[in-house]
């Protein structure tokens, strides 16, 4: 080992040392799963954040992860379907990254097993980054800042694993748990009468919480909600080949739902009121529709109350601080 290497390792050990990043997990949240092979450190998060917002990762350097996952919209984009390279309309609505660290599987049909794997997806999609991961790796290897950050974060020069791991690390810090409803749970504030009525409908009178339950308002299951009789997007069956997976999609979190419109896997429903109307109708007939989705009645006041409750799930701190 030469002197320079020794000094580098010494400095690396003193000031980086793979410090365990202590994310600010709300007290009523469980600890998210962090893979042993990619523990959080400040350096990894910093590198991941830089990559997340940097268009250098797209072929023509025009789009980044944040183009579709915009922090102001809880890391979604308010578009019916995502817009990719050269204005190309992609096939699905952009999902929020709110509390994505807790997800058990990724992509709207849940076919991707880890955040690290998911981070690879846009690179090779022709209408997204369209940049081979090896060439992306070469690109950032020519950038001194990235080389330095990569070595601090992972002890090596940039490579595909560094890129996907760092982006996943940053995404795991996107924790949202300071909404009005969270403050109510922590007995810091009260919900108003309308919001309380909506809460009662959500938890006690309707079946919303059968799927949208727990601290993150999702049971992480895969199901069909009767959006269509015939789906242009075949969903999970494309990977599994099983009829029971036809038109099957993930149950999403409802946190920050007011800012992540339009809704559904294809962005086909514009407002929360219309979403409620869809469920009131009992949805369309489909062989895989969840049995709990049955017609029900609500008056306008009740719809307003339910929407008011859903709006308490907006975490403005989360929207502003990233």
């Amino acid at each position: 080992m030469n002197f320079n290497s020794f000094i580098f390792i010494l400095i690396f050990s003193l000031f980086s040392s793979f410090k365990i990043f202590e994310s600010h997990i709300p007290s009523h949240f469980p600890e998210p799963y962090i893979p042993e092979s990619n523990q959080l450190t400040i350096e990894r998060i910093k590198l991941g954040k830089k990559l997340f917002f940097d268009p250098i990762l797209s072929r023509d350097s025009t789009i980044s992860c944040s183009t579709c996952h915009n922090p102001n919209y809880a890391f979604s984009d308010r578009k019916i379907k995502a817009i990719g390279k050269n204005g190309t309309i992609l096939e699905r609505n952009t999902p929020t990254l709110t509390n994505v660290a807790y997800n058990k599987y990724f992509m709207l049909d849940g076919v991707n097993p880890t955040l690290e794997n998911q981070a690879l997806v846009p690179f090779h999609e022709k209408n997204e980054f369209d940049l081979h991961i090896l060439i992306a790796s070469d690109r950032i290897s020519n950038n001194a800042d990235y080389v330095k950050l990569s070595n601090l974060a992972y002890g090596t020069n940039p490579n595909p694993k560094v890129i996907t791991s760092a982006i996943a690390s940053y995404q795991r810090t996107l924790i949202s748990g300071k909404s009005k409803y969270d403050q109510y749970l922590n007995k810091e504030i009260e919900l108003n009468e309308t919001e309380m009525k909506g809460k009662n409908l959500f938890y006690n009178e309707l079946h919303c919480a059968s799927c949208h339950n727990g601290f993150n308002f999702t049971n992480y299951s895969l199901t069909n909600n009767g959006l269509y009789k015939f789906y242009p997007d075949s969903g999970r069956i494309r990977l599994t080949g099983k009829n029971s997976d036809r038109a099957i999609f993930k149950v999403p979190t409802l946190r920050n739902i007011d800012v992540t419109h339009p809704y559904m896997h294809d962005g086909s429903i514009n407002t929360l009121e219309e979403v409620i109307l869809h469920y009131m109708s009992g949805g369309n007939k489909h062989e895989n529709k969840h049995e709990i989705i049955q017609p029900f009645q609500l008056n306008n006041e009740e719809i307003y109350s339910l929407v008011s409750f859903l709006k308490t799930l907006t975490d403005s701190t989360f929207l502003q601080n990233h």
């Binding site: 072929r59 992509m107 076919v111 991707n112 097993p113 880890t114 690290e116 794997n117 998911q118 690879l120 997806v121 846009p122 690179f123 090779h124 999609e125 081979h132 991961i133 090896l134 060439i135 070469d138 490579n159 595909p160 694993k161 890129i163 996907t164 791991s165 069956i237 494309r238 990977l239 599994t240 080949g241």
Partner: protein
Amino acid sequence: MIRNLILLFFFLNSTVCLSQVDLNLILNHKFNGDPFLYSQNYQDENGNAINISRLQYYISSIEITHDSGINTPLSSVYVLANGNVTNYFLGQYSIYNIEKLEFDLGVDYDANHGNSSNYSSQHPLGPQSPLMDWGWPAGYFFLVIDGTIDDNGDGVPNKAFQLRSLGDIMLQDVNYLTNSYESINNIINLSLDVNIDRWLSGIDLINAGIDHSSSSTNLNMCNNTVTNQVFEANDLSSLDIQQNLIDITTDYNVSYSPTINYKLNNNIDFTLSIYNSSGQIVLQSQNIGFEGNYFIRKELKSGVYFVFFNGGKYTYKHKFIIN
């Protein structure tokens, strides 16, 4: 006593070392019994002209029965086979006489749900170009057959199809290969014929289109591996025939940075040089062997380029265009 034991140890150790042989897998790709070339057209089972522009597949979970029933699994070996590449080194093993060969077409569940970024680009499961892993489901294509087919009877294959099988259900257990291969000069060449046309039997290629999924079409293609016995054990005679054929093509799956598929007729190391139309060298790579798939890991500008393969007194030239 101790001295004798030490001598015995060294004797046994050297014996074990000497018994290691190079194990090679030889895949003779054929179409309708003829040696397969990307640059050549064939006929499908319905008499339509067909051209295959990409043939790639994984072989894994290799198990070898040898020397009177000894079973040796090659569990860490993954082979990414390419239509233009015949020779694959599997490693060194203590094997003399092979009796049976088993393997899977595709990769096992754990590998299929792993992350290609965790491997180097030299590893078969690492990032490849053209891609063999598809990020969306985080899975590998087990078998890829891309090409064009004549759909109007003019004899010109111009309708594109892409059959890229995806999903754990595509895995095929190839366990019917029994043949005797003996070690000669510490080398065993496990030679197999790979009958590409049999993979496509019963597939409606004219209407297949672009199919990257677990569809019934892709499943039928993978199932043909066993039902139609795509792989056949053979002797080494057909290998000599294939080595007299030259095949150089360009794969544009990554349009700005294509892959050059090459199979040259000399078993010597070549140097690859890429020049632009002004005669300036843009890339050079040495010791690329005589067959392989060279990923031009560089963002090329639009224009005409020339690839030169130089090896000893042999030179081959190939042109490609970036639009």
